[in-house]
Symmetry: C2
Subunit: 221 residues, 2 copies
DNA sequence: CGGAACTTTGACGACTCTCAAGCTTCGTGG
DNA sequence: CCACGAAGCTTGAGAGTCGTCAAAGTTCCG
């Protein structure tokens, strides 16, 4: 379910979309409910998205339902750019999520064609590629504990947390990101808790405090 | 070991590098011996490469030596483009390999800044990203037999073989590409042979004839 | 021609998955 | 605000897929 929350002409205040597009022809804002689909694999790619709040998962499915999550997207992240082709994966809101939207063609048209830098389209696609390359190493060659440790380090870094990680995704999401089952994720987290590398904060199991970043790094190969 | 085999001003006759660069400022040619390194992870990215004959593997290593091969590169393929940064993985010649080389800066300078199409840099990086996304699904969620079947389908398609696949890589290379051990790859191939889905051609085990593409596809999820 | 590299196959083991049960948390509606 | 049902999480026991270790045969290359 999609709810429009702003006028189509509201101007963005900061972030990549504005930087990339040169702050023009931008952006509608939309809100997606927890679990709702933003776009589906195979659909024509009409828009590019940037998260203002919430979190998004992008994934592929096998015919029998096995799922591989490519990446999690957090506030500030851009996703859905497809270079004038169909979406190659599905995007869903993990929690209630607000996004800015602009059309792919506006983004392309607004792009000056210059070379390097993280703010242009090549830099954007290259960042995704780099993440995918690192993730292939994780999926193909790391143990379950190493995978979970790497996941926590990634979230720790991306959420830039002073204190407690507030994970938006379920154990199953984490499992499908790491190529594990949710039980194995749970067991690995329990192991890290027993080793006093992390602790769970409060009643929920989604709030995690990293107690020992050094040992966490050691575990991640 | 690197051997120069052509004048620096030989003009390319076809393929991506020429198309991308607009057929100018191109290309020296070099030959690499079996197993020699073309560039190393972390090195400054000076050149972009296109294979004229042979095969190349690109991979990352964990500190303890576990290896994940990102991709195999075959004649016509371009690799090594890094958008003005350091190489993110190592590239090695699998067999004796001839490549065309041009500098990254020439490639960037020669690029007109326009938008879509598979022949420009964004299209090139996007192709790599797409391959990586498919490979994450394979690594995270497919069984050993599905992985080997997918590998054979990929090679069958890319080598565009009328008859027999002549695989340049060892079982260990295949294993490190699929996130398996060489023994598991060997066992899976034997299973496919026993099922009359493929047969080995001649004395070597590197020449494979696909006997039943339909059943091979079914096995690949 | 000889040795190194590669491949296959077997036996065994272990890491991770599957299946299951029970508990906790969350979200919705009364 | 509380209650209830659904969803999420943990933990255990057992099984299975794939990895490890080992040995022998084959191919390749100098």
């Amino acid at each position: 379910m999609l709810v429009r929350i702003n006028s189509a002409h509201r101007r963005p205040v900061d972030g990549h979309l504005a930087a990339v597009a040169g702050d023009r022809a931008c952006c509608s804002e939309f809100r997606y409910r927890r679990g709702s689909e933003i776009f589906g694999e195979g659909e024509d790619a009409e828009f590019v998205y940037q998260i203002t709040s919430g979190a998004v998962r992008t994934y592929k499915l096998l015919p029998d339902g096995r799922r591989q999550i490519n990446s999690f997207h957090l506030p500030g992240d851009m996703f859905g750019f497809e270079n004038n082709e169909a979406h190659r994966f599905t995007a869903e809101a993990i929690t209630e999520t607000d996004v800015r939207i602009m059309t792919q063609s506006n983004l392309l048209g607004a792009m000056p064609g210059q070379a390097a830098g993280p703010k242009n389209l090549i830099g954007f696609v290259t960042q995704n590629l780099q993440h995918a390359e690192n993730h292939m190493l994780l999926l193909g060659r790391k143990t379950s504990l190493e995978k979970v440790a790497a996941f926590l380090r990634e979230m720790d870094e991306r959420l830039a947390q002073p204190d407690v990680l507030n994970l938006p995704m379920t154990r199953r999401d984490i499992a499908d990101y790491l190529g594990l089952t949710l039980e194995t994720v749970s067991r690995s987290l329990s192991t890290l808790r027993d080793e006093h590398i992390l602790r769970f904060d409060g009643p929920t199991q989604r709030r995690v405090e990293i107690l020992d970043r050094d040992r966490l790094s050691q575990l991640d190969a």
